[in-house]
């Protein structure tokens, strides 16, 4: 019995590893119109949208904290959008997301070289500084956090979302 369980566990673990290696977390190409898709698909659900990039120093510090936040808050949709324009980026992007525990988040990668247009669709006033976090409440109210977000602020916001539901 014990042995069978162990074998089963071992098999499961191997499969999980294999799966992890063969199908790395999906990176959706963020193109013109993608922003409306994001808003539509999360409408009515509290959503944290985080813009980051692999070459951004403050992002490296913040990413694992967001990974933990996502783990602690299954009631919040977490959408990560890499807004860097370094070529051949998917590998580095996936590696950083997985290391930070964000491999299973909804992950996007800026995939249109005309970055002004992508940013303009999201927020005409945004000039590309990263990190940047948008907190979208159930009713669509958007709170923008420029720069690294403070986790206590995110906790407070998520508590407000829960309270609003009751």
């Amino acid at each position: 019995m014990t042995r069978r369980l162990l074998v089963a566990l071992f098999l499961f673990a191997s499969l999980a590893t294999a799966r992890g290696a063969e199908t790395p977390s999906e990176l959706k190409p963020f193109v013109r119109g993608s922003w409306q898709d994001v808003l539509r698909s999360h409408a009515g659900r509290p959503t944290l949208v985080h813009f980051w990039g692999v070459t951004c120093g403050p992002c490296k510090v913040e990413l694992p904290l967001l990974g933990q936040f996502m783990k602690d808050h299954s009631e919040i949709d977490v959408v990560m959008i890499s807004a860097d324009l370094v070529p051949n980026l998917p590998g580095a992007t996936r590696a950083m997301l997985e290391k930070a525990g964000l491999g299973s988040a909804e992950n996007w990668l800026f995939s249109d070289g005309f970055v002004e247009r992508l940013r303009f669709e999201i927020d005409p006033a945004w000039q590309g500084d990263i990190p940047r976090t948008l907190l979208i409440a159930r009713d669509g109210t958007v709170t923008t956090i420029e720069g690294s977000a403070e986790i206590p602020d995110l906790e407070k916001w998520s508590a407000q979302q829960k309270a609003a539901m009751r």
């Binding site: 190409p29 193109v31 013109r32 990039g53 692999v54 070459t55 951004c56 120093g57 403050p58 992002c59 324009l85 370094v86 070529p87 580095a92 800026f110 995939s111 249109d112 070289g113 005309f114 970055v115 002004e116 247009r117 940013r119 303009f120 005409p124 006033a125 000039q127 590309g128 500084d129 990263i130 990190p131 940047r132 420029e146 720069g147 690294s148």
Partner: protein, 404 residues
């Protein structure tokens, strides 16, 4: 001249809109029009005029830095010369670009940065040509340090030496070993007495400056480099500062350009621009998103940066003005920046004939319907030109008239 350029540009933009829309499905991720090394595939192009009126360009394309020259103001170019044979992991940050300086003797000094590792730590490499750009020496690190360096700026001093400044993370290591928190990066500098073949030991000008923005570099006089940079003021405020060197080896004090109060723990990727007129007026333009003001601004100083004029806002706030650049020439000061209307990016220009006290109304001088490099200004000692690389319409050099 201005109007002709504008009309020509508009016509070009209109013709290309349809083709562009169809192409965009195939050429999605890249900032460049193509993957090869030629100029039309470049994402970043930096111009410099030689004293004989030859235009030199250094550009990033196909993972290489290339150089070519034009004797007819950009209409035709010499066969490009690749600075390195091998493909490099070039720094593609929004504010990164190759730097080029052309000496009076015809020598050419170059500097650019690469990502040296998978963590995107940078390294500044330098080289020079002593045969009129036909060949370049093997590229060398500008400094022996193995810590991250980015955003080098090169300037040619009156005595022919090359002054270099860059952003350097080396002071992070001792700080962390002592358990201290280290913010930002150091502003480092070094001079080359041999036309950019080798640089003296790097020295610190200011520590804890912003780590992700281009520098503005100009000279207040022979041997007196001036740097404008995004600093980290008390409390993580990323406002701009200016430093005037006493001589190329002696940094001056950090003087604040403007109190914008932009406290942000992020990479703005949006550095300033500096030009100094023969009369000694400092012209600075920059971007901020501070509590005190948001957008693009210009200010001038007549006392080497001790005091600056009230910041003058640039561009239409509802059109996302970005990437300001200022240059003084014999016919006055010129300023350009980008605006975006949701479909196309335009470059707007304005001119001052009174040392920046008053400016002409902004005029759109060029536009494009796809991604583009930052608009830059370059002078051949007489006219001032817009130098602008666009993905859809290629490289452009447009003389900027004063509209009168």
């Amino acid at each position: 001249m201005l109007r002709t350029s504008l009309l020509a540009t508009l016509a070009l933009s209109l013709c290309q809109t349809t083709a562009q829309a169809q192409m965009s499905h195939h050429q999605h991720a890249s900032e460049a029009a193509c993957e090869e090394v030629e100029l039309r595939c470049a994402s970043k192009v930096t111009p410099a005029f030689a004293s004989d009126g030859t235009l030199w360009l250094a550009w990033m394309a196909g993972g290489r830095i290339s150089v070519a020259s034009s004797k007819d103001q950009g209409r035709s170019f010499s066969a490009p010369v690749q600075v390195t044979q091998e493909k490099l992991n070039l720094d593609w940050g929004p504010d990164a670009r190759p730097q080029i300086v052309v000496e009076k003797t015809g020598g050419i000094a170059l500097a650019f940065s690469i990502f040296r590792d998978k963590a995107f730590n940078g390294q500044v490499l330098a080289t020079r040509s002593i045969d009129g750009g036909r060949s370049f020496a093997e590229v060398q690190p500008i400094t022996a340090s193995n810590e991250s360096q980015r955003f080098a700026a090169l300037g040619l001093d009156a005595d022919g030496s090359v002054f270099a400044a860059w952003i350097d993370k080396r002071n992070r290591v001792p700080a962390q070993q002592e358990g201290r928190k280290y913010e930002g990066a150091g502003l480092f500098f070094a001079s080359s007495k041999d036309g950019g073949a080798s640089y003296a030991e790097a020295r610190l000008a200011a520590d804890n400056t912003c780590e992700c923005c281009r520098l503005g570099l100009a000279f207040a006089g022979p041997g007196r480099p001036v740097i404008v940079f995004r600093n980290l003021f008390e409390g993580g405020v990323r406002d701009h500062a200016v430093m005037t060197f006493t001589d190329p080896a002696t940094p001056g004090e950090v003087r604040r350009v403007s109190n914008d109060d932009w406290q942000i723990s992020a990479c703005p990727h949006h550095g300033p621009s500096l030009s100094i007129s023969p009369a000694g007026t400092y012209h600075v333009s920059w971007f901020t998103n501070g509590k005190a003001r948001k957008g693009l601004f210009y200010a001038r100083s007549e006392d080497e940066g001790r005091t600056f004029s009230d910041p003058l806002p640039l561009g239409r706030a509802d059109r996302n003005p970005t990437r300001p650049y200022v240059l003084t020439g014999p016919r006055g000061a010129t300023m350009v920046w980008k605006e975006f209307d949701g479909e196309k990016t335009s470059v707007n220009a304005m001119i001052s004939h009174d040392e920046g006290k008053s400016w002409s109304k902004p005029v759109t001088i060029a536009s494009t319907t796809d991604t583009s490099d930052h608009p830059l200004l370059v002078s051949d000692g007489q006219a001032t030109y817009l130098s602008w690389m666009t993905k859809a319409d290629g490289y452009r050099l447009l003389p900027i008239g004063d509209g009168s």
